[in-house]
Amino acid sequence: MQVVLYSILILGAIGCIGAVVLFFTARRFEVKEDPRIDQVASLLAGANCGGCGFSGCRAFATEAVRRGNLKDINCPVSSADTMARIALILGCTVEVAQRNIAVLRCNGSCQARPQPYAYDGVRSCAVMDAAGVGESACAFGCLGCGDCVEVCRFGALSLDTATGLPVVDPDRCTACGACIAECPRHLLELRPTGRNDRRVWVACASRDRGAVARRICPSACIGCRKCEKACRFGAIDVADNLSYITAADCRACGACVSECPTGAILASFPIRNQSNDPQHIQ
């Protein structure tokens, strides 16, 4: 009985002393922090994707509170609503930033692109790109190993087993830019979602001469300039055998899409009179 009593007393005493020490230590070393940082951080997604340019969500919150406004800094992941609430906490206003979304600049699916070479190594685009041209003969197109899928923290990318290409889920893509940094061939591009979710882009990055590009991949951009002529807004430029649509000038009319002889221009909405394979329409 005595043993039990002593044990309780001694342990209790140690506990009390410890509590007192902890109390004073905590007081002594307390870090004063703006409570708004916690409030802002709790509104952010917490994925620490780095899309804002800071090391994580908390770093973004700290910087936002330090500045006291949201000029020049933006969380691409957060919705306009969330950004407005953050602005409310900071006591400033926020301009609604144009929402971006990643698009793939390649449509050389397994069916379209012959694959004359067999790769035998780690299934990683970066490794395959360093070893050679890839399983198809295209030195610019998607390698299909899914490095971008692996780095997406929002589950917005998936590898389509039928086409062998990654597919962007527009609802989940937060434009954080992780996939863009990962792709060894720089095939993913952030483009504005466009009005009413209408956007048009050239789904090819091949700078091979037209004849060569066409032999390698039937759905490659061959630099024929038909789209450039078809565009009434001057949004399309062809350089290095490759067409590019400047998003800011594009009105998403879809004229170029129906004009493209190889179906290399994709649109996020259905196009009438399109001569090409309807499967390209997402």
């Binding site: 004359p116 070479y117 035998d120 190594g121 780690v122 990683s124 970066a126 490794v127 360093a130 070893a131 050679g132 041209v133 890839g134 003969a137 030195a139 692996e150 780095v151 091979d208 001469r209 060569v212």
Partner: protein, 438 residues
Amino acid sequence: MIHSTFSKGGIHPAACKTTLSGIEALPLPRRAVVPLQQHIGAPARPIVAKGDSVRRGQLIAEAPYAMSAAVHAPVSGTVAALEDALMPDGRRRPCIVITADEATHDADETERMRYWLAIDSMATPDVDADTIKRRVARAGIVGMGGATFPSAIKLAPRDKVDLLIINGCECEPFLTCDDALMRAYPAKIIAGVQMMMKATAIDRAVIAIEDNKPEAAAALAAHAVSAAGVEVKILRTKYPQGGERQLIDAVSGRKVPSGAIPSAVGVIVHNVATAFAVWQAVSTDMPLIERVISISGDIPADQRRNYRAAIGTPFAEIPFTLPPDADTKIILGGPMMGKCTVTLDAPVTKGTSGITVLTDARRQPLMPCIRCGACVDACPMGLEPYLLETYGRLRRWDDARAADVADCIECGSCSWSCPSRRPLLDYIRRAKNRCRQR
């Protein structure tokens, strides 16, 4: 006698050096595809246009940039095109395509035969250092061991250097092109080494040869006796003995610091084939338009040979039979560091040391790492490949950088030695490339 070697790691892959001795001339191609970039640095700038007729050995692309190398016509004929042509990795790169007609082709072959028959009796002129450097630059010579660093730049080091090492190790399995060259032209190689010494004002040169090439070593040693300051050093046969840092360590005990070049410790390393090319350029004014290549691997034994091939010769014109009914890999260079070629339309370039054909070279199924430490033992740079592999696989680039991934020389010893068949170098290379980009 136990020969010296480098101080860390190393492996002993099966040598498989079974090519026939001697160097045979491969017929000049009727259509030569000459890439503008056969070296590290900026591509050469073409100075010919489509339709021009060119002579064999004529300058067709100059090197106006600090880091570049001139390119010469390997055959006489007409410039058929300046276009992007297929390279071994399947990509397209700017090339000058030259087609030869019957008459120019025959004349070239005669001239070429005469040159190689007379080479033993050709004299070595006594020229000054500047002339040597100028002629080396004009001949478009690059490091012929595979690194293809422009040689003229290496002959004008900014640091104080006191030791020239000539790499005759040829530690890659299968390859014998340097061995064949050392046996065939020992006197010319020594003369080339002396020219390099003169150009860099170094009074000591060491020709390093692995102990599995006794004939080559003996031939060079016999000629080195009369050359002041040139010695032949025999090293243990161990891969990667011919790695630049390993070679410097083995020969002189000096350790090149991380991120530095050999001249930081007063050393310059050149390949034996480069020394020979230097002699050719200085003594006979012959630009680098031919080189020795080894054809070896799983092909019939009588086809494993060393050829003197013109730069720009498509691989398809080299006589060898691919084994039927097998997964076949065609490797440029040796099996440890060589890159696969996916096309036989690609041409021989200044850095092509040979072609190795491998069957059954498919990767084996991999197993979990059992922490056996074989990779740590094998790494000639003293790194921890198992750790770097994990970092590369998990995309922990910062951790990889902190673990000195940048020091990796990509020799492949770790992947070779792993009993679990893990693709160590694949992931390490990924981490290294990523760390270099940022």
